[in-house]
């Protein structure tokens, strides 16, 4: 199949499911093997066609949670028809995946602060791995509504990344928002110049993170989410307002942006 597609001038996009597992709270892990995964960098994303046919019609975008060898892992929350079908995938099933797409995270400072809100933690695991491999000392700040929305404890504790939590109901870590943790980190930092901020989560969180980081003069990257049709930069359906006018495309100019590029709503 691979060779036939290549001969015709196209790149094969079939992947084989190697793990499909609910982890509670409506969250799931999906792992698949395919060629092309090896080149993925943290912060990039994939477009999954959850099944053949015309319902659902469009692919669904997911950030890359982890890459190991030729396997990519996604961490997602079941929210609608597309993700509902995905939860039914079984090991050995074949899915159609475009990957890796978009522009990922940059190099970061000596002490990168990784900030995740809810499912926004998804791209941070691979990012933490890559920062550790580069000899940096990342810290992790995770927020969610309740303890159930704080994901990936185990994976991060294996990495021995210092982690702080904030939940709105106080069921884990500090009571309140993850942005309060960031403020605390920025206020207590001995060397602001060595810090960098890398955040993924809902827009109000990202906007607050960007304001705090920019106020402290710390470089800040944000990973944005959007509904997409093509995922390749052609349809212009996933744009966000840019600070210097016009729009930027989440899929092709991002999904990771310098926070100064974005005009927050």
């Amino acid at each position: 199949m691979c060779t036939q597609s290549a001969e015709r001038g196209g790149r094969e996009t079939v992947a084989t499911v190697t793990l499909s597992q609910p982890i509670g709270g409506g969250y799931h892990r999906l792992r698949f093997a395919s060629s092309g995964a090896q080149n993925a960098t943290p912060g990039q994303f994939v477009m999954v066609r959850v099944r053949d046919g015309i319902a659902p019609l469009l692919r669904r975008p997911f950030s890359i949670h982890m890459v190991e060898g030729d396997e990519v892992e996604l961490l997602y929350r079941e929210v609608g028809e597309g993700t509902g079908i995905m939860t039914g995938l079984k090991v050995g099933d074949r899915i159609d995946v475009l990957q890796p797409l978009g522009r990922g995270f940059g190099r970061g400072g000596k002490v990168p602060l990784l900030i995740g809100g809810g499912i926004g933690v998804a791209p941070l695991l691979y990012l933490a791995h890559s920062f550790l491999a580069a000899g940096k000392s990342p810290k992790l700040l995770l927020g969610g509504r309740t303890e159930r929305d704080i994901l990936c404890h185990d994976q991060f504790s294996c990495l021995a990344v210092p982690t702080r939590y904030a939940t709105e109901d106080g069921s884990l870590g500090d009571t309140g928002l993850v942005t309060a943790l960031l403020k605390d980190e920025l206020d207590s930092a001995e060397d602001l110049g060595g810090l960098s901020v890398h955040a993924c989560g809902p827009i109000p969180m990202l906007s607050a993170v960007a304001r705090l980081a920019e106020g402290a003069g710390v470089a800040c990257e944000v990973s944005l989410e959007a509904h997409m049709a093509c995922g390749l930069g052609a349809c212009l359906g996933c744009v966000v307002k840019a600070r210097d006018g016009g729009y930027v495309r989440v899929c092709a100019d991002g999904p990771v942006f310098d926070s100064k590029k974005i005009l927050w709503p």
């Binding site: 597609s5 015709r8 001038g9 196209g10 790149r11 996009t13 066609r49 015309i54 319902a55 659902p56 019609l57 469009l58 692919r59 159609d96 475009l98 509904h227 997409m228 049709a229 093509c230 390749l232 930069g233 052609a234 349809c235 212009l236 359906g237 996933c238 744009v239 966000v240 016009g246 729009y247 092709a252």
Partner: protein, 307 residues
Amino acid sequence: MAKEFDLSVKVGALELKNPLIAASGTFGYGSEFADFVDPSSYGAIAVKGLSLNPKEGNPMPRIVETSAGMLNAIGLENVGLRRFIEEKLDYLRTLDTKVIANFFGNTVEDYAAMASCLSEVEGIHALEMNISCPNVKAGGIAFGTDPLLAAEVVGAAKKAANLPLIVKLSPNVTDIKVLARAVEEAGADAISLINTITGMAVNLDRQTPALANVTGGLSGPAIKPVALRMTWEALSAVKIPVIGLGGIVTGEDALEFLCLGACAVQIGTANFIKPLSVLDILSEIEHYLTAKGIGRVTDFIGTFRIP
């Protein structure tokens, strides 16, 4: 050795190596898809619609998925004529395919100026004028729904153009035959149809429109029956070549339009679903016709008959 299957077609004087044209707005300027599919796989590429000046487009949200289709209200965001020529055309010139410059304007003068300018640029093989975008308030749709205005703007563009001029028609009219005849008489070399059908989606939880523009253009498999009906009606009304589009995602879909008499077809939303669609559709066309003992696409065009 078996004779090679002949996919080539003609749109008037424009020769295409195969009958598939990437529909404007769904294939960017070609390079966006190059990681996954060779853009030269298409017989021609109709680039994202161009205007004299860059256009910012509509607020978000701009797209929403619907049953077997999608609504969009992008608002013709584009880099403008100058940046297209300076930044996008060099890549397109390297491709082994025909480049169709899709364009639109707010006034008759805009259309004429665009047609004249694009005709002078090396690397463009045909023009497609959009008189049918449903998502912009000025221009666009007004020219596409009034036969007198349509004739005036097509006449002016044809006079200014030095390349084959395709006119893309709106389906949002009572009688497509009247519009098709009007643009034919005004000098159009070919017509393409259909553009998207105006539609709307409601966000029930918020009791708001799903699109910031409130209404948008429906595309995808949901609109194919309407597109077939209008292609058939247009073919019955004019003698100039007709390019069919609307909801084509398979080789058999494409063949239905060709069978009616369309000289070529455009592939739009299918590019979003699967960047490799062009390759799949070409193989499906070849397999289908070969099984019928037909060795050339042109032998199948216009074979439709009502018993």
